[in-house]
């Protein structure tokens, strides 16, 4: 049974219970009716047969057309009739009996329409030895009256009981639904920002899971909101510094006066500051988009080919700093994932390696399959990281101390997020070959 959205649970329950109750009651009445009908028929048929037998025994002989004006000892008497035939001649009949035989069936029961238009139940019986034929009839209407009397006795109380029951049920259902009403009241009175758990006086067992999952949801939302708030605050914080730097450098350029070298330096710094702010904004947007949509794609991407493309894109940046960017991807390596997202991952990994390595450093990108797992490793010959710094990595906006390269730590957050989307593993270690930092991304083995 589908519950309409706007329908009240109480009305629904009430109508359901009342409907079923009426149905059951009516069913009982129907059964009683058929039962009673059967019993009454049996009983009265028995009486008819008994009466006929009595008549037959008493009719030794009689004169023709002897109309017995039988007294009416009972209110049902007019509904009863009889005929007695001797040698084919009607000898005795009741006052309300016709002259022709009541039924064409000479023996046994028959239901016939008589001349008065009424329906009668007739029992015929004959004594062949004395040639006596007896018919005893009874109007069926009187039987129906008895049956209907019984049914009325069942149905009439229902008429009175139903409204009373409806009232009582309404009250009972209302009582039963009180916890639900309390919950909706508590929820309705909450402030939009209120995310503390719902506390009710008494929670019925059935509602326990509801309240629990509701509270769990509130907790999740609260966590998410706190996270968002922190992120926004951190992002604003992180954006303020480059903007402050741009402003300071621009003012230095304005106030440089005759010092051309200082003005030149300040203007160059202003430009670099703008690039830095732009990169930060782009990273923030990427991260926000990543957090909005998990971007699950089941397409198969060749990691080797993609790494080659991204490396080619970044090679000019590397060459500008006399850094050598090497790619070791000899055989195709298929991984499942979104190509765009994989591109962002590769770009961030290689870009980070180039950015945090000094001029003339080596950066090596390696794509391989190790025991069924696709592995991407980016190594550099830069200064690397201490254990402590590695532990801090992944905290948003964490920067390694003493770096001349401005960064926000957002690149790493992006890498972490994408790796999570692919359910891959990322690991940071000391580069075994180049001595700097090695970042290894390991995809789950494909089965």
């Amino acid at each position: 049974m589908k519950l309409e959205r706007s329908q009240s649970l109480q009305a629904h329950l009430l109508s359901l219970v009342l409907g079923l109750l009426t149905l059951v009651w009516l069913g009982a009445a129907l059964m009683t009716w058929s039962d009673t009908r059967h019993e009454v028929d049996e009983l009265l048929d028995g009486h008819l047969a008994q009466a006929a037998a009595l008549l037959l025994v008493q009719q030794t002989r009689a004169d023709a057309d002897d109309v017995v004006d039988a007294p009416s000892p009972h209110k049902y008497a007019p509904d009863v009739t009889f005929q007695v035939f001797h040698n084919g001649q009607l000898t005795t009949r009741s006052a309300n009996a016709q002259t022709s035989p009541l039924s064409s069936e000479r023996t046994g029961f028959a239901t016939v329409i008589l001349l008065d238009g009424g329906e009668w139940r007739v029992f015929g019986m004959r004594d062949d030895e004395n040639d006596v034929q007896v018919f005893v009839g009874e109007q069926t209407e009187s039987r129906d009256e008895i049956v209907w009397g019984v049914i009325r006795n069942i149905l009439v109380p229902l008429m009175f009981a139903l409204p009373l029951l409806a009232l009582l049920l309404w009250w009972a259902v209302r009582q039963g639904l009180a916890p639900l009403r309390q919950l909706s009241q508590v929820l309705g009175q909450r402030q939009a920002q209120a995310l503390e758990p719902v506390v009710l006086d008494k929670v019925p067992t059935e509602m326990q899971p509801l309240v629990e999952s509701l509270n769990a949801l509130f907790e999740r939302i609260a966590k998410m909101l706190a996270f968002e708030r922190r992120f926004t605050a951190d992002a604003a914080h992180e954006l303020r510094t480059p903007i402050a730097a741009i402003r300071a450098q621009a003012q230095v350029a304005l106030g440089a006066g005759t010092d051309a070298a200082q003005r030149e330096h300040a203007l160059q710094s202003t430009l670099i500051g703008c690039d830095r702010a732009t990169r930060l904004v782009l990273q923030l947007l990427t991260l926000a988009r990543l957090e909005e949509t998990p971007a699950i794609s089941s397409a198969s991407v060749d990691l080797s080919a993609l790494a080659q493309r991204v490396a080619a894109d970044l090679a000019p940046t590397a060459l500008a700093h006399q850094q050598s960017l090497e790619l070791e991807a000899t055989s195709p390596c298929a991984v499942t994932g979104d190509e765009l997202l994989l591109g962002v991952l590769l770009r961030n990994l290689i870009d980070n390696a180039l950015r945090y390595s000094p001029d003339g450093a080596r950066v090596c990108v390696c794509v391989a399959t190790e025991s069924g797992q696709a592995v991407l490793r980016v190594e550099d010959s830069g200064p690397g990281m201490t254990e402590q710094e590695m532990a801090h990595l992944g905290e948003r906006f964490y920067r390694v101390l003493g770096h001349t390269q401005p960064g926000s730590g957002l690149g790493w957050s992006i890498i972490k997020r994408i790796v999570d989307v692919f359910s891959a593993q990322v690991q940071v270690s000391r580069a075994p070959l180049l001595g700097g930092l090695a970042v290894t991304v390991r995809w789950p083995a494909t089965t």
């Binding site: 303020r240 730097a245 402003r247 401005p406």
Partner: protein, 223 residues
């Protein structure tokens, strides 16, 4: 005025240092909280510009450590944390001023001058000692209403003496106030500047306390 700038962002630090130097401040720049604390406890700075999000030691902790050791160097907190609770916490922990990034260099300079003035108990921006007037923001000096042309060092020296009028400053203290890092200070530099000042102003403006240092007598007129 010698200022310690504690800022970990290379570009902002570079810009602030250059900008404050243009405004006539002597600026030393440190990039982490430990260095900031060490320098402030030993260096004799007129004031400090302190970023809060410093590596190794948070700016607020540096401030706390300074105040715990009775160091009263005026500190201007320069930070990107603009939430009201952050500001309150910063001021409660002993910051003398709280400025949110980005900041105008001239405003930063004005706030620093105001901090220094107040920390020396002066109410007015323009310092007065007898007939000598010194305007720190315009970097102008006059005597008996006539402008006096001073070099940067001479101005800074006179400024330091006027801020501390009535107190004797040693040669070392004056050197600390005048020179940021990286300057080779000649042993008689202060004497030379004092000599020039006396020539340009009046011989009796600056008193020598033999074996101790120099002082300006506090004027009788209300400061």
């Amino acid at each position: 005025m010698r200022i310690l700038l504690a800022e970990d962002d290379p570009m902002l630090g570079d810009g602030l240092r250059a900008g404050l130097r243009q405004l006539g401040f002597q600026v030393d720049w440190v990039r982490d909280g430990m260095a900031a604390e060490r320098e402030l406890l030993t260096g004799g700075y007129t004031a400090a510009v302190l970023d809060l999000g410093l590596p190794l030691k948070d700016g607020l902790h540096v401030l706390q450590a300074l105040r715990a050791r009775k160091n009263t160097t005026p500190v201007l907190v320069l930070t990107a944390r603009d939430a009201v609770p952050d500001r309150i916490r910063g001021l409660d922990m002993g910051a003398d001023d709280y400025v949110v990034k980005p900041v105008d260099l001239h405003e930063l300079g004005a706030r620093l001058r105001s901090l220094v003035r107040r920390s020396h108990g002066h109410v007015h921006d323009i310092l007065r000692c007898g007939s000598v007037l010194l305007d720190p923001s315009a970097r102008l000096v006059s005597m008996d209403g006539e402008p006096v042309l001073l070099s940067t060092r001479e101005f800074d020296l006179l400024h330091a003496l006027m801020l501390n009028a009535g107190r004797v400053l040693s040669r070392e203290q004056l050197e600390q106030q005048l020179y940021s890092w990286g300057y080779e200070v000649e042993s008689n530099a202060i004497e030379v500047h004092i000599h020039h000042l006396r020539r340009k102003l009046r011989a009796d403006v600056i008193q020598t306390v033999r074996g101790v240092g120099y002082t300006l007598l506090r004027s009788r007129e209300p400061a």
